[in-house]
């Protein structure tokens, strides 16, 4: 959460969007994440998507929980309102915020720890309410900020930095969301901005809750024994400062996932993930087909918009609220007045 003010150089030649702003106007503070962290790439993607959609910065509400991922709202759209709340509670707080003011664009950023463990119930219920918001899970399989414990999305067989092997079945946010009726589900990879930005734009334009699971490698805690020589230095000695005390310089992993056949991407720890894209003729309106497609491709991480249904009313529609924000309704519309109170009280006898 520390933030460092970024030097803002005005480039008069920069392209402007429909509200007259350049992409620089959608940037935030300087990131304090580890160099090369996948989350920073997602930040760049979100920045771009919001700019391309020409959403006025002050009409954006950036919501997050706690974690490295949840810090990132500081790093995009300085001119937006932000709420870095408590671990796991973002969906609940976003629900309240959205209830109060439907006029803003809600960008929720969370981590796999934040959303699949402590906040799992809230995520599922936000999905049920079909809250209109972009909900990004920056999914790295670990708890970054608390130094590398497994998250619930860690695959069976994954080794942690401490050498533990995960044996529990992962919770795949995509399958979970599909199984409980989510109306927009997508997956992407932090390193593929070409794919990510359009997905984010589609998600931001969705009628209800748009869940975007973005695989986002953690530079620092996705390493495993032996993969990186220098790590040994810090891991070796039992009696070590508990601060993660050396983070090797690393670079962001970038890869464009090929339309045909997909792409192998090597992670910081040397492991290889096969990313694929859903085929062009893929039907995003068939929930069962989406689940089938994912199950039929167990060896790869299927990316793209996996399911979208624009027919389901979002929370406000279900609740028939007026078109203006509840927060801004004039008090005169809200108070029944003394005459009604007197009448009502007269009936309590």
């Amino acid at each position: 959460m520390p933030s460092i003010v970024k030097p803002r150089v005005a480039h008069p030649s920069l392209k402007r969007n429909d509200v007259g702003l350049t992409v620089r106007d959608y940037e935030g503070q300087m990131s304090t994440l580890c160099a090369g962290c996948g989350h920073d790439s997602i930040t760049a993607g979100i920045t771009r998507a919001l700019w391309e959609l020409s959403i006025p910065p002050h009409m954006i509400a950036k919501m997050s929980g706690i974690g490295c991922s949840s810090k990132t709202p500081t790093y995009f759209v300085n001119g937006a309102h932000g709420f870095n709340s408590a671990h796991g509670r973002m969906p609940a707080i976003a629900t309240g915020a959205n209830a109060a003011n439907k006029e803003l664009t809600y960008v929720g950023v969370s981590g796999d720890g934040d959303s699949l463990s402590i906040g799992l119930g809230h995520l599922c219920h936000a999905i049920r309410r079909n809250l209109k918001m972009l909900y990004v899970i920056e999914n790295n399989g670990v708890y970054g900020l608390t130094k590398g414990q497994f998250s619930a999305s860690a695959d069976v067989g994954t080794k942690s930095k401490k050498g533990e092997v995960n044996l529990m079945a992962p919770i795949d946010p995509v399958m979970l969301a599909l199984s409980i009726g989510a109306t927009f589900v997508a997956r992407s990879f932090s390193g593929d901005k070409e794919q990510l930005v359009p997905i984010l734009k589609a998600a931001l334009s969705h009628r209800g809750l748009a869940l975007v699971d973005v695989i986002s490698p953690c530079v620092t805690f996705n390493d495993h024994e032996g993969s990186t020589r220098s790590y040994i230095y810090t891991r070796q000695h039992l009696h070590e400062a508990t601060e993660s005390n050396f983070v090797p310089p690393a670079r962001e992993i970038v890869a464009e996932i090929a339309r045909q056949g997909g792409t192998n991407v090597t992670m910081h720890d040397g492991s290889v993930i096969h990313f694929s894209r859903v085929p062009d003729n893929y039907d995003v309106s068939d929930r069962k087909a989406a689940m089938d497609y994912i199950r039929e491709h167990p060896a790869e991480v299927v990316t793209g918009i996996l399911y979208a249904d624009e027919s389901v009313p979002e929370m406000h529609e279900m609740n028939k609220t007026p078109s203006t924000a509840l927060a801004h309704l004039p008090y005169e519309k809200l108070c029944p007045g003394s005459a009604i109170l007197d009448k009502l009280q007269a009936s309590y006898r």
Partner: protein
Amino acid sequence: MRSGINDFAFKLASVNGTGSASSSILLMQAIFRMGVPVSGKNLFPSNIQGLPTWYEIRVNKDGYTARAPQYDLMVAMNAQTYARDVAEVRSGGYLVYDSTWPLDPDLFRDDVTFIGVPLARLCNENFQGARERILVKNIACAGVLIALLNIDEEIVEQLLDEKFSKKKALRDSNTKALQLGRNFVRENYSCPLPFHLEKMDGNKDKMLIDGNSMAALGAIYAGATVAAWYPITPATSVMDNFKSYADKFRKDKETGESNFIFIQAEDELAAIGMVIGASWNGARSFTSTSGPGISLMNELLGLAYYAEIPAVIVDVQRVGPSTGMPTRTQQGDILECAYASHGDTKHILLFAANPSECFDFTVRAFDLAEQFQTPVFMLSDLDIGMNDWVTPKVKWDDNYRPNRGLVLTAEQLEAMPKFHRYLPEEGTNVPARTLPGIHPNGAFFTRGSGHNKYGGYTEVPAEYQEVMDRLLLKHKEAAKSVPPAEIVKRPGATVGIISLGGCDPAVREAADIASKEGNPTDYMRIRAFPFGEEVEKFLADHEYCFIVEQNRDAQLRTLLLLETNVAKEKLRSVLNYSGFPLSARTVLDAIAAQVEELDAVNR
């Protein structure tokens, strides 16, 4: 003793799920409409059907509405609890039982008059179907009481007319049942009993209503638009009522749109999260809950405190700890609310003493929450919240406008070079806030992590402390804005009684009795935390004070001890944590015992 015209108490013992509460309420309403001050305590179990339940009704021409210490008449309709119920009748009192079956001779008492009415037989002979028979039995029983207690029949008929205006068949069977009961006693016993009702004019400007309805109405009138909650006894009916009132008063006639949103959350953590999110975004938002919910809200209450976000929590207290006794009353969340959350925190509490105050204080809770940008707890309890009280009608000033506190307008922001979230004007303790979406200059970043007065993230000691110190001053400052303690002075009093919330009727009655007995005491009813100067003064002015409250650990005393200058020895506790509403007798006995003790020491 007290028994006589318009001054007695009776109790109905029954099984829950049979509709007995409805007929008890019918009787209460009738008595209320006769102009006689009345109070009813529904003592029900924590299940849905088939367990013992009681309804106590006290009528008192002088308006004392605390729980009655003993019963002149017992209506013992539950075989399971006969023995207990028989034992509870005062000597010289009466007991009504269902004489369809013979009563165990062991249960008879020489000093009590037994009135047998074959209710089951009467109903079985006159009605068909199990369902109907169960229901009408209660009404027949009401008929019995109409005769015994001289309850105005016309009023009862009118009540039934109102109730069943659209259900003729039901209306008819009710009348029939009523008459069955009434006629049987009239024919077989001398009616009415020596203690009974007579019309009077004791309920002027009063109504008969529960606190949860009034709290809900308060939220409507305060302009709350976002209600988020998770069901829990005894707080559920706050939200049930809010929803009903909102459906009635907040739906746009033309568009059919709802000028509110009502969210049943997945749990209490979510409920308070939603309230915080909505308040952050400028809506008046609230939740209602009870003890376990407060425990679960602890973490986020600290966030709201530290990030300075308004939140209104209506806490209808029940018996703790843990699940405790969910359908019994207590004042056990005082400390949990005052200091909720880890780290250094202090919250604003309001203590409502009756349904009318539930309304007033809920409205004020919203004003205070926004004025001080912090969580405000409106504390009531099961007794106030779920029982019907004879309570003054509240007045509404149509000139009232919400105090939204310091919220910058688009114009103000336009004229502002830079907005700093936590920077109050020189000499004040509450900074201005902005609402998202109002103006680009108002954008800021909210966080529960360390921040400086500009709203920026910090880990620098002085910057962190500066904000924390101001929060403390802000809380202190709120003492001037919360409802002051209510103080009743009596000439010659050197001792004070201090109490809060639903203890009020019992304490007032006790003080009156003591005064009549030549022991005048002053009385202070705490209505809010932080405490104002009047509280300090009252404490300073009295030799010692008895603090009457409904919990084991003297939580109000604790708060007074910690947050005023009072000396420890001054504060003596009178504690009742039985789960039942307080009676004047309990207060008097406890005080008498302590006075004796004090005298012994001084001697």
